[in-house]
């Protein structure tokens, strides 16, 4: 069962057009407060976690079928060069194939990881990172109650404490201006990664 979760502090107003357009046959939930992101330590979208029939995590949070090839996009007309497009499509297909393999074979799938491997790959937040989450939460609370300007201070502090969270960064930008999350600030932040990955993917897919 897929469960799609929108990390959108803008609530239904932000998420609804996309969900309606997708005509989903599975639950599409709206997570204004990024609760699921905190519970599973997700720092970007799309991030996925695989959970088996017993409610056990068999793949911890990881980028879901995406790759850094999007960085080759033309930033004016959003065109993606052919080689980058092939890479993106191949990554998506490999991920979907892995997911189907797990659905068919369950724990016998090589993509359903054993406990030691899940624990090895899993990241858990430290004291600074949970402080970032509390700042984001207070910012979201102030925003939800009509204090957008005052909320910014807390969003900025969350970003300062956990700069690797694209969720904090881009959500805050989007609340200022929906275009900002994909605008010059976004690309400058992506460029500042240098050789670092925007989507640090799994080794086996």
């Amino acid at each position: 069962m897929p469960i799609a979760i929108a990390f959108d502090s803008g609530g239904n107003a932000a998420a609804e057009p996309w969900i309606k357009a997708a005509k989903p046959t599975y639950p599409c939930l709206v997570d204004r407060r990024h609760i699921c992101a905190e519970l599973y330590d997700m720092v970007n979208v799309p991030t996925a976690v695989w959970i088996d029939e017993r409610g056990k995590i068999v793949r911890p949070s990881e980028p879901a079928g995406v790759s850094d090839a999007f960085r080759k996009m033309n930033r004016t007309n959003f065109a993606i060069p052919a080689d980058a497009m092939s890479e993106l499509q191949a990554k998506r297909k490999a991920y979907q194939d892995a997911l189907r393999d797990w659905v068919a074979k369950g724990s016998k799938s090589r993509f359903a990881l054993g406990e030691p491997e899940v624990l090895r790959r899993m990241h858990t937040p430290d004291d600074v990172q949970v402080r970032a989450a509390a700042n984001f939460r207070l910012g979201e609370y102030l925003f939800e109650n009509g204090h957008a300007e005052e909320a910014r201070k807390y969003f900025e502090e969350a970003d300062r404490l956990r700069p690797e969270s694209w969720n904090y960064k881009r959500q805050a930008w989007a609340l200022e201006d929906p275009m900002k999350a994909g605008g010059p600030e976004f690309w400058a932040a992506v460029d500042s990664l240098g050789e670092g990955k925007y989507y640090p993917g799994a080794e086996d897919i």
Binding site: Y40, V130, G182
Partner: protein
């Protein structure tokens, strides 16, 4: 004074609390309602879990207030390793989850449960899907 308290997924508005110098003093009823914690002879308790209060620093946690005994939720948070972020202007206090608790939950490999609404406001919990494989995937409009 009236304080808004965000405590994990709980939100309580207009709580009658004494806030000063990084301390937040609540009466027993509000302490339980806001945080789920209660003060007992063995310390602060929630469900089966009790956290003893260091004797030497007891006055930092429990004190006689203007209208009976009050409890310092900020000191308890500090003891539990929870982050606390406050906005004095709005009288808002946000208590996050401790890193150790997040780690305990995740490394148990039991998928943490959540309840979130769909577009119609109907709540869905992860635990409803026990017995099926679940693929939880995030996205965003931004």
């Amino acid at each position: 004074m009236a304080i808004d308290i965000i405590y994990g997924e709980r939100v309580a508005t207009g709580v009658d609390a004494d806030a000063r110098d990084g301390e937040l003093w609540l009466c027993a009823g509000d302490l339980k309602q806001v945080s789920g914690w209660e003060y007992k002879p063995q310390g602060f308790c929630k469900g089966d879990v009790c956290v003893p209060v260091p004797d030497a620093r007891k006055s930092k946690f429990v004190a006689e207030g203007r209208d009976g005994v009050r409890y310092n939720l900020a000191a308890l948070a500090n003891l539990l390793g929870q982050p606390v972020v406050t906005d004095a202007e709005f009288g808002a206090w946000c208590f996050g989850e401790a890193a150790a608790e997040r780690k305990r939950m995740l490394t148990s490999l039991d998928a943490p449960d959540f309840s979130l609404p769909d577009l119609d406001g109907r709540m869905h919990s992860l635990s409803e899907y026990r017995g099926k494989k679940v693929f939880v995937v995030s996205w965003a409009s931004w």
